[in-house]
Amino acid sequence: MSVEAREKRQPWILLSPALMAVTLLLLVPLAFIVVYSFWLRSAVGPDIQGFHPDNWQRALTDPFYRYILLNTLKIAAITTFFCALVGYPAAYFITRSSGNKLILLLLLMLPFWISYIIRTMSWINILGSSGALNTLLISTGITSSPIQMLYNEATVILGLVHFLLPFMVLNIYVSLDGIDTNLEDAATSLGATRWQAFLQVTLPLSLPGLAAGGLLCFVLGAGTYITPLILGGPRDAMFANLVFEAIITQLNWPMGSALSLLLLLVLGALVAIYNRFLGMSQLTKGLG
């Protein structure tokens, strides 16, 4: 074999374990889900095999699914907005801090060491009727009886922001860390105030990181089902909850498959739009 041919094959040999893993763990199961989505659930007993577009027809035309999907996208968008609002100053502070950057980054990663469910449930102890906040309000005389703060859409968003904030901060941090601080100094030396220098130099240069963090927060937020389950009220649900219920509670795997693919397609389309305008490379920087 010539050196040229060997060099041509080498990347494929090196990539083969990853490709095999992606094929076996992602593409093959996905193919199963696609097949399942065209089956039909029977009233009792095994599903009816075949090619039936009924589930897709319902998923695409039923106003119930459309309402929940739009509500999911709305909650994910609000969550992303708050993550950006809270995450940017935090990332800026970490980038500009001198000496203790590593400790701050470690503190940022610390919540990942605790189970996501436990972190979400911790809000019950903070916002519950006999939680820390109500206890404080009552003991200081601000209120005489507990204020109902839990189990609504606001607490679902709060829980999601809590869960997703580190992803946003890390992405913005990576972006900000790559900006030469001399640029801000140059802007101020040319007469710009600190605020103007930030608005016209730093912020535009950090936008790719903000966008990458936004995409991650949005996609992860739109796909969650635990947070509304723990912190939501009776009506609060996101699209992933419908997938969970279809598969686990109703044992309607075909419908659950169609719904999960629909969510995948919608989020995939958003990622494709992001890639078209900003490119995926920023995402991998953030994750690195």
Partner: protein
Amino acid sequence: MDNTKRYERLLERYRNGDLDRRSFLGLIGAAGVAYGVQTPFAKMAFAQDVTQVRFDGWGGVVSEAFRRHAFDPYTAETGINVVDGTFAGGDEYLAQVRSSQEGEYNIAHLSGVFDYARYVNFGLDVELNLDNIPNMELVMDALTNAFRGITPDHLSAVPYNYGTTGLAYNRAYISDEEIREKGASILIDPEYQGKIGGWSDWRTRLWYAALQTGQSPNDIQDMEAAWEAIRSHRDLALKYWGSGAELMSLLAEEEIYVTEGWSGRIAALQEQGHDIGYYDAPNSFGWQECLFVIKGSPVEACEELLNFMLAPETSIAVAEGQNYPPALDGTKVDLGDKIPTLPAYDPTGTLESLTFADPTYWNGNEAEWSETFARVQRGF
């Protein structure tokens, strides 16, 4: 015909020219393989050995009681290990079983007769030999008959315990008199808006909706009225709970004052000192749990384990741990001091005071009602 004779006949045909050399050697080889597979060598095949049985249940104190009173003595006697798994809900577990290989899951502590029917409908049942489970003699007939209604010619499970889903209420805010007066309708009483809870289970929601609209839970005639009652409850409720732990937390923390609840969990709250009342309104939701043997399991080994689990000392220890009365007939077995005090306990052994879900009725409507509930829950 023995193997020697078979060989001699093949040899004769070969010598006579009726069989070519290749076919002769092929048949001899095949005979050798068959011999190796089915005779003493087969006993050495690992696939034939039962080295472990998997049991899946609700975990916690129940699991500990099973380990101490049933699994360890069983392993000591048979040499078969019991792998102890847990699940959070019956629906989730059925999804796991359906997506697994046969034999991966063996015995499960399932809820309700409708779960038994669902497993049977999916072809996941086996035929138990009750002669291998002598402790079945001690079990209440009323519980076993419910399963026989679904599989008249065999049983794939043994009853294990029973309980009710009744009304649980905080006595600091709701008196015993008020709960008796209002019954299930207290769950749609606007006076308690924001302090009402409920299980996010479509069956329980519909069962209580039937009670709230004055209908029989096993024969709901006016479905629209029932769905309307569910909508009213949804709008007044603070939260649908999804697990026993969440139910206990909501009541104990006074997030809610009233909900329907599982008798055993409420008894546990009372044991902890919380002033939580429990009331089974007329036609309150009765249910039983069983130990179901899943298709593909080593049936004989499972039968022996079931017998250990049904032994009075194990059944009573588990019942005391989880606060649900055992399936054992109180008229045949001395159940000790605690069990007769448990909510839902029936000293007659007939269970006539409880109303159980008709599995044919509920499973027949499961597809439609579970989906409709998902919509109603979200405001549709």
